[in-house]
């Protein structure tokens, strides 16, 4: 089994290495085929190994490769417990589909081989992240997915916007990483180790609330960076500059959920720090609402989905913040299905529209792209929370748990509910603007359905979006039973939805919210595209001008400060002092030169002065 896990990890890495060196020389579609094969094989191997865990034969497997950082007791070692199994399967499963899809989508790109190399690198990184058995290996994966994300966002680096977006993503993520790093330092300082087993094992007994709060808030900062939560979400909308499969895989299905995974993984620490858990949930709720309102006013199809992703990630944060880790991870999984589907669908649309992303220039595509439309419609219902589609079950469970916590959590629940309404609204808006109504295409654009290699993954994901939710219904919580041992092993107490009739009521309320949203949007957008470019719409469209504010503060303000430091302080101040000493010495030397007058009699005076001086000294020693 251990070998299988090792292989599952290393296959994508091997794929990356091979393609990085030889990818450019292989003709299309071979790089894609190779990359898809490694991804698929990796999925199969993970599944076989996972079945062992799922089947209950062993609850967890650990693979240790070598000692990595001896002084920190860190080994390159991997943990395969139910939570990692689930994450691994989602990552490799969805990943394989998207790899396959990309074979068609990236057709004709001049750096075809490079793309698949990067995709495989991402897979390897993400697998490292979700299987690492200690914080350090987790952090390795954490950073490497950041690298892959950077490479893939700026894949079309000839576009200045793409290059800028990649850098922005990496830098903003790094801000979060500072938090993560500080958390790691605190953890090592407290426990003397970074291994999950030891840390989580000792935490309940050894960790005070204050310290736990400190650690978890720092972890949250890291998670907020990676999972695009307030206030570090700004990179994700820009990340849509990358090729659409990248958006689907990295910026919707997998990488951005790493924060959720991390909070769930470190659940015990958050349990010991109720304040932090509350902060997590609050950040999640706030982000969910905030991003949903922005999504309402976007015209770029991918930006709608990007803000939607941020919003959905907020849900997951709400869930894990409320200690509903299973619900959070469950939503992570269903979201991976339907959001990947939405992105791939959007990609298919963009592909068909020859690169057009503005929904105002679409419309009426349902007829031309039936498969795309059908699969996206499934995803639309799933995200809108309509049963029995996948999104309903997971979102509903989160909201139920949050409601069940009572007190202030009720407010969060209300926000979540309103966000559900908004979600349904903007998704419906997107569907109508894209597929419904009249065609508003530019001249010369001839939309067409995508090739089979792209449609098949859509269909598979469509199926998963329908049935994926059934894995964990209140009637048969299979996933919960499966995941529970993983949390129990780390002493986490899971929060559950309230018992009795309440869940039913809550479910109906949220279905109603979804339906209201759908209805409202249908009414507004069914037949026309209203003018939404002024007033509050404009404010929402520009994302409350947060980006501009950040730019003003950090890019303009910070830039000015840095320029001052470099030009004035460093060059004129410090170096000026250094050169000043040199110049002063030179000036003194030049001032002294005239003393050597050239007149022999003044020289004699100098000798005389010296003589008198020496005599005076000796007089003080003895006197006459």
């Amino acid at each position: 089994m251990e070998t299988l896990i090792t292989l599952a990890l290393l296959l994508p890495l091997a794929g990356f290495t091979f393609l990085a060196f030889f990818g450019t020389r292989l003709p299309e579609p071979w790089p894609g085929v190779i990359a898809t094969t490694t991804a698929g094989l990796s999925f199969v191997l993970a599944l076989i190994a996972g079945l062992d865990v799922i089947g209950g034969g062993t609850e967890r497997l650990t693979v240790t490769w070598f000692e990595w950082l001896p002084a920190l007791g860190v080994e390159a070692s991997f943990l395969y417990d139910p939570l990692s199994v689930l994450m691994t399967l989602v990552v490799t499963g969805v990943g394989s589909l998207i790899h396959a899809y990309s074979i068609g989508y990236m057709h004709g790109d001049e750096r075809y081989g490079r793309f698949f190399a990067y995709m495989n690198l991402f897979l390897f990184s993400m697998l490292t992240l979700v299987t690492g058995s200690n914080f350090a290996v987790l952090f390795v994966g954490w950073e490497l997915v950041g690298l892959s994300s950077y490479l893939l966002i700026s894949f079309w680096f000839e576009r200045p916007t793409a290059a800028a977006a990649g850098k922005k993503a990496f830098v903003v993520n790094r801000i979060g990483d500072v938090g993560f790093l500080v958390a790691l330092m605190l953890i090592f300082n407290t426990f003397g180790t970074l291994a999950f087993d030891a840390v989580f094992g000792e935490a309940p007994a050894a960790l005070g609330t204050g310290l736990a709060t400190g650690i978890t808030l720092m972890l949250l900062l890291g998670a907020a960076g990676k999972s695009a939560q307030l206030p570090l979400y700004v990179w994700l909308p820009d990340a849509m500059e990358g090729p659409t499969p990248v958006s689907a895989l990295i910026h919707a299905a997998t990488m951005v959920t790493a924060g959720v995974y991390m909070v769930a993984r470190t659940g015990i620490l958050f349990e010991l720090a109720p304040v932090s858990a509350g902060v997590v949930a609050t950040v999640g709720a706030a982000t969910a609402l905030f991003a949903a309102t922005i999504a309402v006013a976007q015209f770029d199809i991918k930006r709608v989905l990007a803000y939607s992703t941020i919003s959905q990630l907020g849900y997951m944060f709400m869930g894990v913040g409320a200690a509903a880790h299973v619900a959070g991870v469950f939503h992570l999984m269903t979201h991976a299905f339907f959001k990947a589907l939405l992105f791939l669908g959007a990609g298919s649309v963009i592909h068909g529209m020859a690169g057009q992303q503005d929904m105002r220039k679409m419309g009426g595509l349902a007829r031309v792209m039936p498969w795309t439309f059908a699969t996206m419609a499934v995803a639309w219902l799933a995200i809108s929370g309509i049963p029995p589609f996948a999104g309903f079950w997971s979102k509903d469970e989160i909201l139920a748990v949050v409601f069940g916590r009572g007190g202030g959590w009720t407010v969060l629940w209300a926000i979540g509910l309103f966000t559900a309404l908004l979600t349904a609204f903007y998704m419906t808006r997107m569907m109508w603007m894209t597929f419904g109504g009249k065609a508003r295409w530019d001249d010369g654009v001839h939309p067409h359905e995508s090739p089979r290699v792209m449609v098949v993954p859509l269909a598979v994901l469509g199926v998963l979006s329908v049935v994926g939710g059934l894995i964990n219904t209140p009637f048969k919580p299979t996933l919960e039973h499966f995941l529970e041992p993983a949390f129990e092993a780390f002493h986490v107490h899971l929060a559950h939805p309230p018992e009795g009739a309440t869940p039913w009521v809550l479910a109906f309320v949220s279905i109603a919210a979804g339906l209201i949203g759908i209805a409202a949007a249908t009414a507004r957008y069914r037949s026309r595209v209203p003018d939404e470019e002024r007033g509050a719409w404009k404010l929402l469209n520009r994302g409350y001008y947060v980006d501009d504010a950040y730019a003003a503060a950090f890019v303009v303000g910070g830039g000015a400060a840095a320029r001052w430091a470099a030009a004035s302080f460093d060059q004129k101040g410090i170096d000026g002092a250094v050169n000043g000493v040199a110049r002063l010495t030179g000036a003194v030397a030049r001032r002294l030169r005239p003393l050597q007058t050239g007149f022999v009699r003044s020289y004699a005076v100098a000798v005389l002065v010296g003589t008198v001086g020496l005599l005076a000294w000796f007089m003080t020693r003895g006197g006459f």
Binding site: F66, E67, W68, L69, P70, A71, L72, A136, F139, V140, E143, L144, L147, Y150, S154, F157, E158, R159, P160, A162, A163, A164, G166, K167, F170, V171, R174, I175, D177, V178, L181, V182, L184, M185, L186, F188, N189, T190, F191, G192, E202, A205, A206, L207, G208, G210, L211, G214, G559, A561, A562, R563, A565, A566, A567, D570, I574, D575, V578, A582
Partner: protein
């Protein structure tokens, strides 16, 4: 006596330098190949040393000890331990590479190649000397070849830069010499005979005040070399004006002489002062980390940018050293190696583009990624190593330093961690401006990608970057005992205790470590 491998390491490049000078002047094309071939000999010797080095031993190995002039207490005493071992290997490794990267030098090649070889001998001597005077001799004498390399084969303001480099460093060493001499007389009063022998000096008791002043004198000299804020302004000038190989050596090994000195001498000879001044040094280090990075962001000259990044990275090394924890010290040492590799590689890359375009202004580039894909890839790889991406070498050192310094100096460590963000900003922004976007200037359109020679130059460094990132254990295992010995000595001679992590220990973020 065993084969004097350490002396061989010093003498080989020196003899090679003389040999190069004696080559017929009518055949300048011979000088560089001969020098490259000759520089492989010390590399071989250093690898032999690496293989024969006994891992897990704290003390000095391969020791050579001959009296130089007994009445003054000077002895030719060489030895290598886990700290110096890797630095020696790094030095011997970087020289053939830098020489290979020097084909652009056409003027007085003999002198150039000889200067490089003399420089190598001097640097290796610094790392191997266990007698303070011999150490000082190498420390100071290596300024001369470096001065020539910058001053003769450098850029437009080369004379200014060379003289500044020389005087700045010499100023520091002047006070160090006074301190060394004073130390020898204290030793005479206690041991009966004056001695400059490092090992013997460890047995000398110094008052707290004496330690303070001696620490200050040694420390100033080393801090200038590191360079520690605010003594860093010679560095950008020297780097920018130096020819490529000069920059590589300057950043790769020369700066390490400063941090090595702090570690080898300040920490062991003046433990009480070390403990007293720990916050001061750490503060300067942290200021350097942040300040160097901030200033690097807005540089318009790529070489200057990399130079300021060195200020930032070396800050990590100093922070690690003055964290006075096992992790911090190990991190500091490994970070020296890592910085040598990554920044060396960055300077090589900058040199390669400079040879093609004769400019280093970032604004003169743009869109190179599509013109020179291999070059772009190599640059990005190195940049990420420098940024501290896990899996590449830069991370290991930074992580050790951060975790290690957090144990004793939590606030400093947290501030230092922000350097991680800034590093990403300056390097990736520079990459963005140089390599991405459309090709804006006609001159850049026809640039040729890296040739075989250049790939041969970069490949070994890249391999080491990867190896040390993934499996640093062999290196760390060799460092560990020596570093532990230093800490033990500090604990034995002062009331400082290396802060231990403990279950439930509340971290006092005010910065007072638990006693």
């Amino acid at each position: 006596m065993d084969f004097p491998v350490l002396t061989t390491l010093i003498v080989l490049p020196m003899a090679a330098g003389v040999a190069v000078l004696l080559l017929p002047r009518r055949r300048p094309e011979l000088a560089l190949p001969v020098a490259i071939a000759a520089s492989l000999l010390p590399l071989g010797a250093s690898l032999w040393l690496l293989v024969r080095f006994e891992t897990g031993v704290a003390g000095f190995q391969f020791v050579e000890h001959v009296n130089w002039y007994e009445p003054w207490g000077i002895s030719y005493h060489l030895g290598v331990d886990g700290i110096s071992l890797l630095l020696v290997v790094l030095t011997a490794f970087l020289f053939p590479i830098s020489l290979l990267a020097s084909t652009a030098i056409k003027d007085r090649v003999h002198l150039y190649a000889a200067s490089m070889l003399f420089l190598e001998a001097g640097i290796i001597g610094v790392f191997l000397s266990l007698d303070l005077i011999v150490f000082f001799v190498f420390w100071e004498v290596m300024l001369v070849p470096m001065y020539f390399i910058i001053g003769v084969w450098g850029g437009g303001r080369r004379v200014y830069a060379a003289v500044k480099f020389f005087l700045f460093t010499a100023f520091g060493s002047a006070l160090m010499l006074a301190a060394i001499l004073s130390l020898a007389f204290v030793a005479r009063d206690q041991l009966g005979a004056p001695t400059f022998d490092f090992v013997q000096l460890l047995g000398v008791d110094l008052t707290r005040t004496a330690q303070f002043w001696l620490f200050a004198a040694f420390g100033l000299s080393f801090a200038i070399k590191v360079p520690l804020f605010p003594l860093h302004t010679w560095l950008p000038d020297a780097h920018v004006e130096a020819p490529t190989a000069g920059s590589v050596i300057l950043a790769g090994v020369l700066l390490k002489m400063g941090t090595y000195g702090l570690l080898r001498f300040n920490l062991t000879l003046f433990p009480e002062a070390t403990v007293d001044l720990m916050p001061v040094m750490a503060t300067l280090a942290v200021i350097g980390i942040v300040y160097g990075a901030v200033v690097a962001i807005v540089q318009t000259d790529i070489k200057r940018l990399v130079a300021y990044s060195s200020v930032s990275h070396l800050g990590f090394v100093v922070l690690g050293i003055f964290a006075l924890t096992a992790q911090g010290l190990q991190g500091g040492v490994i970070q020296m190696i890592n910085h040598g590799l990554t920044t060396g590689a960055l300077f090589l890359l900058v040199g390669m583009i400079y040879e093609r375009r004769h400019t280093r202004e970032i604004s003169q580039f743009g869109g190179l990624g599509s013109v020179m894909p291999i070059f772009a890839g190599a640059f990005l790889f190195t940049a990420f190593a420098s940024v501290g991406l896990p899996g590449l070498n830069g991370f290991v050192g930074e992580f050790y330093v951060l975790v290690g310094s957090f144990l004793s100096l939590p606030v400093w460590a947290v501030v230092a961690a922000t350097g991680v963000v800034l590093a990403a900003v300056y390097l990736l922004w520079a990459y963005q401006r140089m390599f991405t976007g459309p090709v804006t200037l006609e001159e850049n359109r026809g640039l040729s990608d890296l040739n075989a020679r250049e790939i041969v130059i970069l490949a070994p460094i890249a391999a080491l970057i990867l190896f040390l990132g993934i499996y640093p254990k062999p290196a760390l295992d060799r460092i560990e005992p020596s570093v532990d010995a230093i800490l033990q000595r500090i604990e034995q001679t002062t009331d400082y205790r290396v802060p231990d992590f403990g279950s439930g220990a509340v971290v006092d973020l005010v910065g007072e470590h638990g006693e």
